[in-house]
């Protein structure tokens, strides 16, 4: 019998439909892998064995019923019926935890399902558990989780990226074929890049955020991780679409073709012919690791050889992106996180008996260092006398950044191709002491959020044995075109030797004596504390 954890969701679905494999068997195999390796990876904050098996049995009953009814009933089932998925631990699942990686939400039990959860249940997906993340999705390494960092299955001494590092690592380690993340400044694409998987941030408004813990509301979007483009497209299809409970979700139809990206590599590759790809020169500058730039240029050259037309373009306000983002996102977070007041839910310190003092203690003890830093930045940027200089200024520059992208679409380009992250995965602890060095890791992804655009990161080879991601960005609502392009790139590199390489240190995770990621991070930061921090991006 083949190892069920190596299957893609699009391979599971036909087997489930004909009854050749059961959802229970698939779920058992994935649960076993997740449970066995979580000590070494810390990708999961909770694994729902009992609930997952019950959902798997329910999916098996749905599948059996559809088989009895006939081909039309089987065809009506979503391809995710019976397929295990992971959810970042800021997605509400009724009756379960939603810590958002924070101590302030320890013990919180969601009284309702998010729309994403409800849609996955409707599709018949099996929710295997909740994945680790930077606290309130603020971070680029998953080291800012209050529940310890996650390790990268390619090298257990390195970060998986972040903030959705648990989801990326779980998919890369074959614990689930698919997982949900959120992306405010790169938090899906960047960990996907560092873990060698596919991750997509859809257009702002594509996926309902009802029931998702908020970070920065003009930037947050929910999206899929998968080990190939077809799988990511299937998960995106399941969770997308207008929702009356989220006023920012858009009444734009979800393309059904997301479920039928070509299986044939030849057919997929033909999509490249005549496509116009823009290569922004500002994304290949100092600070970019040579190995990353080389892999991305090779990827673009391969697409050109397959018929795409590649031209260099300028996105002239790229250099202003980091400062703009790190005003807007903290400002929005300082407002969103005002709700953690120790009254309605979450951690509360009532030891003083005095309102303001209890408020200060609750928030002082409940939030971690990065969240406090961003609340401070945002509160300052919005405070009297500084609003115009910081927040309003940043919103105006945001207009210019968005206009840069608009000009590319107006010039007739189909997509922009760029690196996802300027570096491969860096060592645990290397950037913890220097927030600005950590923020620079998002330089290639966060302009896309500020313009509200869809972007997908796909594996594009290895540098020093670690994964490099190619980022493909498109115009609003062009997810299907972006995924077709990503699938085409996957097709033309299907026989590349690096495609067959599995995460190098995955085998170590089975060993119960392997150190936990938290132990490795402590060791590194103690060793590096004399010099302060590692090199910047």
């Amino acid at each position: 019998m083949t190892d069920l954890t190596r299957l893609h969701a699009h391979e599971m679905s036909p087997l489930l439909r004909v009854g050749e494999v059961s959802s229970r068997a698939l779920t058992e195999a994935h649960l076993a892998a997740a449970e066995r390796q979580n000590h070494s990876l810390n990708a999961w904050l909770v694994i729902y064995r009992t609930e997952a098996l019950a959902q798997a049995d329910a999916a098996d009953r749905r599948l059996a019923e559809a088989r009895r009814t006939g081909p039309a009933a089987l065809a009506a089932l979503h391809p995710l019926c019976g397929v295990p998925v992971g959810l970042k631990d800021l997605v509400s699942v009724k009756g379960g935890q939603a810590t958002a990686g924070s101590k302030i939400l320890a013990g919180y039990i969601a009284p309702f399902d998010s729309t994403v959860t409800a849609r996955l249940r409707q599709a018949g997906a099996v929710i295997l558990g909740k994945t680790n993340m930077d606290e309130f999705a603020m971070g680029s390494s998953t080291e800012h989780s209050a529940y310890g960092p996650t390790a990268n299955p390619w090298d257990l001494t390195r970060v998986p990226g972040g903030s959705s590092g648990g989801s990326a690592a779980a998919v890369a380690a074959f614990h689930v074929p698919l997982a949900i993340g959120t992306d405010t400044g790169g938090s899906i694409r960047q960990p996907a890049s560092m873990c060698g998987v596919v991750g997509m941030r859809p257009t702002y408004g594509r996926v309902s955020r009802y029931g998702i813990v908020a970070f920065a509301s003009s930037l947050d979007q929910i999206g899929p991780f998968g080990r190939d483009v077809r799988d990511a497209a299937i998960l995106l299809h399941a969770v997308s679409g207008h929702d009356r409970r989220d006023a920012t979700s858009a009444p734009i139809p979800v393309p059904p073709e997301l479920l039928s990206l070509p299986d044939s590599d030849d057919e997929a590759a033909s999509y490249l012919r005549g496509r116009r790809i823009a290569l922004p020169r500002e994304y290949f500058v100092e600070g970019m690791e040579p190995g990353v730039a080389a892999r991305v240029r090779e990827a673009v050259a391969a697409m050109q050889a397959a018929g795409a037309k590649v031209e260099e373009v300028s996105l002239p306000h790229t250099d202003y992106g980091l400062a703009t983002y790190y005003i807007i996102a903290p400002a929005e977070c300082s407002s969103n996180l005002a709700r953690y007041d120790g009254v309605k839910y979450g951690f509360a310190d009532r030891s003083s008996g005095e309102f303001i003092a209890d408020y200060l203690r609750t928030r002082g003890a409940g939030f971690g260092p990065e969240v406090k830093r961003r609340i401070m930045l945002g509160t300052y940027a919005l405070s009297a006398g500084y609003y115009d200089a910081y927040y309003l200024k940043a919103q105006k520059v945001r207009t210019l950044i968005k206009a840069d992208f608009d000009a590319v679409w107006a010039a007739g380009f189909d997509s922009i191709c760029a690196p996802t992250s300027p570096t491969v995965a860096f060592p645990l602890g290397a950037k913890l002491a220097d927030p600005v060095a950590m923020y620079l890791i998002d330089a290639c992804t966060l302009p896309v959020n500020m313009a509200g655009l869809p972007g997908v990161s796909v594996p594009a080879g290895l540098s020093d044995g670690l994964p490099v991601g190619l980022q493909i960005v498109g115009a609003p609502w062009s997810e299907l075109s972006m995924l077709r392009l990503a699938r085409a790139y996957e097709a033309i590199t299907a026989r590349a030797t690096w495609r067959a390489v599995e995460p190098a240190e995955l085998h170590l995770t089975d060993d119960p004596t392997t150190p936990s990621p938290a132990e490795r991070m402590t060791r590194h930061t103690q060793g590096a504390s004399a010099t302060g921090s590692g090199g910047q991006a």
Binding site: P111, V343, R350, L377
Partner: protein
């Protein structure tokens, strides 16, 4: 742009209702100023006639009929309350507590 003094950091912490230790305040003073230094690049851009962007998709107001639909029950809404009394959240005494905030 501006530089944050230790007193400014304490003031902002109070506005944000964050109780910070001496060590945290000292570390944040350095870190926040380092981050604010990165913001100075924005002063190089003339944005006087550029409108601000607050949202990226062109959605107008979203309206719906004003009808009652199912929502959380009182028990569900109170299920995570740190302290509850009957059908109410218990809030620490607000009046007579000394300082009035900023």
């Amino acid at each position: 742009m501006a530089t944050l003094s230790r007193a400014d950091v304490e003031h902002v912490a109070h506005l944000a209702r964050l109780g910070l230790t001496e060590e945290e305040l000292a570390r944040l003073e350095g870190q926040l100023n380092h981050i604010l230094d990165q913001y100075t690049i924005l002063t190089m851009l003339d944005t006087e006639h550029i409108p601000p962007t607050a949202q990226t998709i062109e959605l107008a107001n979203i309206l719906r009929d004003d009808v009652v639909t199912p929502s959380l029950t009182t028990d569900e809404a109170l299920s995570n309350a740190p302290e509850r009394s009957g059908d109410h959240f218990v809030v620490p005494a607000i009046l007579g507590g000394g300082e009035g905030g900023a």
